[in-house]
Subunit: 213 residues, 2 copies
């Protein structure tokens, strides 16, 4: 599973009601097009697919107010909200070597309560450690690692990445314990989306005119 469903569900949820172009802009605001597959085609596809499966509710809307073809607005359903939290919890916890999944989850972690986020992240650290133990036991037989030749560098790379990942997660846990950020039920949430008409202060470059890259 890629990160796209979590990203799209989360973005729609934060707006209450959003059309594809809005979601697309939010994700760009987070740089998601650079570290995940959140490209226009995938976003629109995910919206339609999830509407078909009842996770989103589609409202057909008259020709847009600002030029362009008529647009469709989406709203998250109860089933979609459930799915959203399932994905979010799973993505914070599981170590599956896909950095885009974790990144997406970080963007939404404040939708949980502080205590739960901490528990999930601690679980994450444990699962990284378990993974590490499993592979190093497996790929480092008594004969010594050199038996693998340069292929061993692949393992070495992954193990190093896992160690960094665990260490970074521990740092995050500390920051959260020390009161960083505003979690669910702690008052006015930090809004990481663009309000209609607002400029994106972090836009990396051109606004997508016709999209020809």
């Amino acid at each position: 599973m890629s990160a796209i469903r979590l990203l799209v569900l989360g973005a729609v949820r934060q707006h209450g009601r959003a059309h594809g172009y809005q979601v697309r802009n939010d994700l760009e605001y987070w740089g998601a097009h650079e570290w995940s597959n959140a490209k226009p085609g995938s976003i629109y596809h995910a919206l339609k697919q999830m509407a078909k499966h009842g996770l989103l509710l589609a409202h057909e809307i008259a020709p847009s107010t600002a030029g362009g073809p008529p647009r469709t607005e989406y709203e998250i359903t109860e089933k979609g909200t459930e799915e959203y939290f399932t994905l979010l919890r799973g993505s914070l916890t599981a170590y599956d070597q896909k950095p885009d999944i974790l990144s997406a989850a970080l963007g939404f972690m404040v939708d949980l309560e502080r205590g739960e986020a901490l528990e999930l992240l601690e679980e994450r650290v444990r699962s990284i450690e378990a993974w590490r133990a499993a592979v190093t036991e497996h790929y480092t037989p008594e004969d010594g690692p050199e038996q693998l030749g340069h292929i061993g560098e692949i393992m070495n790379f992954w193990v190093t990445s896992a160690d960094t990942g665990a260490e970074w997660t521990r740092g995050l846990i500390e920051r959260i314990k020390d009161g960083a950020y505003t979690f669910a039920g702690e008052g006015e949430p930090f809004v990481g989306v663009l309000v209609e008409g607002e400029e994106n202060p972090y836009a990396t470059g051109e606004k997508h005119p016709g999209d020809a890259s």
Copy 2:
């Protein structure tokens, strides 16, 4: 672009002539099914696609000697070899945040000469540093990073990963400089593939019987 083309081209090249199941077993031997999309369907698809585009040459082979349906053997063409080295060099050099690409390239780096591999890896370090400079300048305005709220943790995570990646690459460069591994033109190469009939000493689990997971 995913890692699959590089993996498949490289595996076929090492065998001289290989059928899909052989490639599949090699990739499993490297653990590639765990850190990349090297699953059966993708492998067979890549083989066919690349044969269609002239990167591989397909030989239709009579019913297999060891049970199962008739198999097709593939051989790499000159065009395929060119593409292989282009992909390999690009994957060693570029920092595109896709760890699977680098892993695949590590498995094949010894197909290059030691000096070239070192140059490419040094270029890689430089490109990671350039990426880091670009994003930290962009996403850390004078107002301090806290302006981004928890969204800043996403950036923080990527920057940390990039730093680790650069550091790890420097380590690899040192090991290679110190004479580790056998590169092209340095005599008997380390063979990271399974010879027909050999047991996989690192198999993670079941041999895929019918593949039902």
